[in-house]
Symmetry: D2
Subunit: 383 residues, 4 copies
Amino acid sequence: MNLDGLDGFTIEVPSWAYGNSGTRFKVFTRPGGPRNPYEKLSDAAQVNRLTGLANRVSLHIPWDLVDDWGDLKAHADKLGVQIGAINSNVFQDDDYRLGSLCNPDPAIRRKAIDHHRQCLDVMRQTGSTDLKIWLPDGLNYAGQDSLRGRQDRLAESLREIYDASDDNHRILLEYKFFEPYFYSTDIPDWGTSLLHCLALGERATVVLDTGHHAPGTNIEFIVMQLIRQKKLGAFDFNSRYYADDDLIVGSADPFQLFRIMSEIVAADAHRPESGVNFMLDQCHNIEEKIPGQILSVLNVEQALAKALQVDQAALATAQREGDVLGAHQVLMDAYETDVRGALADRREARGLPRDPVKAFQASGYARTVAAERVGGTQASWGA
Amino acid sequence: MNLDGLDGFTIEVPSWAYGNSGTRFKVFTRPGGPRNPYEKLSDAAQVNRLTGLANRVSLHIPWDLVDDWGDLKAHADKLGVQIGAINSNVFQDDDYRLGSLCNPDPAIRRKAIDHHRQCLDVMRQTGSTDLKIWLPDGLNYAGQDSLRGRQDRLAESLREIYDASDDNHRILLEYKFFEPYFYSTDIPDWGTSLLHCLALGERATVVLDTGHHAPGTNIEFIVMQLIRQKKLGAFDFNSRYYADDDLIVGSADPFQLFRIMSEIVAADAHRPESGVNFMLDQCHNIEEKIPGQILSVLNVEQALAKALQVDQAALATAQREGDVLGAHQVLMDAYETDVRGALADRREARGLPRDPVKAFQASGYARTVAAERVGGTQASWGA
Amino acid sequence: MNLDGLDGFTIEVPSWAYGNSGTRFKVFTRPGGPRNPYEKLSDAAQVNRLTGLANRVSLHIPWDLVDDWGDLKAHADKLGVQIGAINSNVFQDDDYRLGSLCNPDPAIRRKAIDHHRQCLDVMRQTGSTDLKIWLPDGLNYAGQDSLRGRQDRLAESLREIYDASDDNHRILLEYKFFEPYFYSTDIPDWGTSLLHCLALGERATVVLDTGHHAPGTNIEFIVMQLIRQKKLGAFDFNSRYYADDDLIVGSADPFQLFRIMSEIVAADAHRPESGVNFMLDQCHNIEEKIPGQILSVLNVEQALAKALQVDQAALATAQREGDVLGAHQVLMDAYETDVRGALADRREARGLPRDPVKAFQASGYARTVAAERVGGTQASWGA
Amino acid sequence: MNLDGLDGFTIEVPSWAYGNSGTRFKVFTRPGGPRNPYEKLSDAAQVNRLTGLANRVSLHIPWDLVDDWGDLKAHADKLGVQIGAINSNVFQDDDYRLGSLCNPDPAIRRKAIDHHRQCLDVMRQTGSTDLKIWLPDGLNYAGQDSLRGRQDRLAESLREIYDASDDNHRILLEYKFFEPYFYSTDIPDWGTSLLHCLALGERATVVLDTGHHAPGTNIEFIVMQLIRQKKLGAFDFNSRYYADDDLIVGSADPFQLFRIMSEIVAADAHRPESGVNFMLDQCHNIEEKIPGQILSVLNVEQALAKALQVDQAALATAQREGDVLGAHQVLMDAYETDVRGALADRREARGLPRDPVKAFQASGYARTVAAERVGGTQASWGA
């Protein structure tokens, strides 16, 4: 089984995945939860240590602000990971009740823009080059604000942020169908995100969160279209059955994940030089967090490994000949291939455990941190 | 305009609507939020004072536990409201991470059952006759637990609760499509709720929350079917665009609310003797809470007033004759009728303000409580 | 009630609405169905005669091909209507089993392109300036064809059609979420349609069919966004509960139709000079067809009339002040206004019947054509 | 790999799958399509000959009416297949425009009931014991008819049919979310179907069509619940992305099919003595029909084979211990197992081709029937 295409493929993990998260009804807590960015990085480093796949960690500002960035970077270096994308947060402040970059009040827009300038500063200090913006803005009631006015304000706010960014910075602009507002969101779909990116310039690209679409949406089509426009900047991987469920990627519809990775392979976008940042963005509400992250990166790797097994020549032939079922079966043959053994072999050959989840359980790490991390406040969430 | 059908029609409001609520991302706070059940009842009483429609208040246990129930009832009496349904809570305790009445651990099922016994005791002390159970139990991952095993445990747990209830008690069993779990919930649909109610006995009935269905579900059909089975116990009214958005009832799809109320009128279920408890269950995340509740009860009243305008004889004739558009238009004629003036007249005639929302704003109540309610912790949420 | 904004507002009706249509299960027939384009125009003219709103009729090629276009135009003139948009058809030929403009076989793409050239010729002969393209292409199975390859072929095919069009021609490009293919469609969303239009040039614009979206999609947001991009070319109005149900516009969610028309009014796009073509595209499966069309144009007019009642100054003030419920209520006040009487008055003042549906029933037209149209084959459908 | 659980497991195929089918837009035709029930059985027998899985064929009345049932049975015997369920048809007659068993006109209800009596007669003559009723009744417009009145008529009609059936007959009652009507259907969900079955008696059971649910519905939950009620009579297998797409089962979401079959295995319902009839009900619009059916039965077999690999003891332990990810992974391990080789071995051992689709292509059957079946009218469709 040829798995060379996996070489160089990595997945970025989010610092907030190790903190507590939940639903509006309840955030469950567990012993050993990290209390600061240092401990989050330590947890994240476990994922990389055991899978060899996750050597970058996204930070979330202001949750992950530290006094001494050099010190945090040194901590990361020691752990074998790097600082990845910087995520802004314009949803956890009372001021943002009616929005941030789209708020009708210019003073609050100013505050939200300035927060992104702060994030750009963090990027300069950490060496991060990706500013990821998830815009939580939206409306709950028809008429509450002008849909058009909000787009115009958004364009203006983004322009200022983009102009404040450096030449080596990318702006990654996420879209989301609904939540935390329920009548409309101000970037509800890939089309709106793309229009803003096109207006901004070359360094602005779209983030595709696999959980942020209407029921029935063909996500791999969007992946294809954004690649075709050279505007796919990053993924936020996770799984959904109903809404933005933020479950472990690949747990709800592994065939969809495979189809997405097949579009990636078809465009050679799994290679590092493609510039696509493959990130996780999930909640672990009831399961253990580090095993949840390990399983997630393995699921993405597995889907990619299967996508690499597609017999591209046979597929192209069947497609050209209009052999509907034949072409479909070429794809399904790759999907039905059991790649678990080959992936375990590959890990072993690289000095990694065959079964990273079991290796984590055996490591005693969870017990150790539960014993050590006493007192203080456990870090909590975000999606 | 004949509005006699409104006589005796009332809507129950939830105590938790006046506390803070929000999404998993943020709970916004406001000055003057109530800090205890007494203050919640005071807020709720405003709704009734200004609309004459909302003379019962549902409580939520343990949030609304007080030391002296007689004293709370006296407070309610003074405010002109009564204690309505008692709502149990089996979702805000770490023990319930894997469920409550369905939990694989019998000790946790015991705890959840005992909590419902406590609620029955509250009912005995407050004179409430409705125990409302929203079961938050469910799974996030396929295989996580046995779907079948959980149904059997649920049946057993409910049996014990039902048997512990008094002859004048009703069990109102709610269903919900998803959330707070995302692979499955243990009472996902009206069919499952009904099966458990049928197994329990005559005093168990179904709660229909208008936000707890899959996209596209015809809710008035379910209303009709539950009435046909004599098993519609109560409504939890609210609005949704996407998921369980918990917006103000009637704000997202007023025509749907009208269709629901038309089925109610067709079965004479709006009359108090029908036993259907018309309740609100909403979040007010960004809007003012008391005006939000006032608007909600007015929206339900307006939909009912329109439904009462349906020319039933003309409708029956057109239906019998297979006049598709004619029958539809009879319904639409009622819907398009502007009942606002007649409702304002009716309120005026009963000594109520023509415009209850404006009357509330003019009353200075919000300012007063903001000044008075200083210190302490504002009550917070639940859906 | 000021209804001046209605002046000059018209709705285009489709020739195929008067022929037989149905579902995959059954096409019901009725006496008097039109058998040719002449009879379709006669039926369509009834709608305009009774409502004064529908003076243009879209044609569908090849269904509406005639030998002598001058003669058809003269027939239309005599009836008081004009030829509107020309609709191509690339779905009712065995050749199009695997697609038309995206087909893997270049010979079939050629045939499909040539069909559009034929449509452009019809436009030249009828004076129509709008070529409406609904692309039925898509896939039923993952892997069946290359999603990316199909986009590239589509771009190429559209380029050729656009280049073959005249300077006074517009290309109206429709998108559709699913059907008649179920794994993917080649223009599934407004984003894809817009990207192709942007690539083509100024004379290419997007068609928004109100039934062609995923569940939960905020359609008025898309209306706003397309107007903001100056790329909203036309509407295909109809109603849906579940899929592309093609019911009478305004029958399923009249509030949504009102919100859409409110965005139109907010952008002054209801005025003829906006260039937006307001068209119907519906099926009348079980109801009478001419009354169904009359009701449809009246529903659109009614929604526009209500949207014109929005107190824009009060709305802007409430929005600016962040008065969530106040702003929402300004909108709802317009929606709750009963405009039926004022619209009847306006019709009467213009020499039109107060109740166009009743006037049609009283006219005996249906009986007349049922008696006259004997023999021949009734025209059948398309959506 | 232990595949003993497959012994005795069979799938019933529908006679109409071999005729032409399509969407409302187009029914594509192909050379060699069967023209009568004899030729349909011949085609169906190919599926069984090559897979050993499909020895029963459902008939559809009146499409499959023949003069001499004994002769048709003899033809079936010779082909190695039997007559399976008898499907009624109350949707392809102009009389049924407003419904059949629910029609407001008693004469049409009478006709529809009598049609089912005819189907019962066919059962007596063919030895079939299953009468499958898919009720296409519904409404397109709110108000069009009384939802409640229709339920009462339905109950009455079904009662008469049930009473006319023999003691060895089963009534299989299907539900469907929407289509061919779009405002409501008269049996929209499993709850409604079950209520009617409970009212009818022991021999009435529910049919679960995998394509007949709202988006996001957890189908395996319903499977479990119906089994728990001893009321799961049959499956109609197929796949969907959006609506009732009727694609090849397992092609859209193979993991869902696996989860369904896992619930089946958990309840031992895959064994013939369970009485669950596993049927296909699909359209093959653009793909070859016999290969489409072969692939479908293989997909169901594959899903069952995987479900049989679940380590039930490990699963039960992990579930009991509340090991969320551990339990999920036990299930996923079975799902990720590649069973293709073992299934091919098993086929070979039983004298069947390792690759039934390839064997069919090699057999020349398609060419033969295309040459033979000249003249006449190809059988067409229904879903």
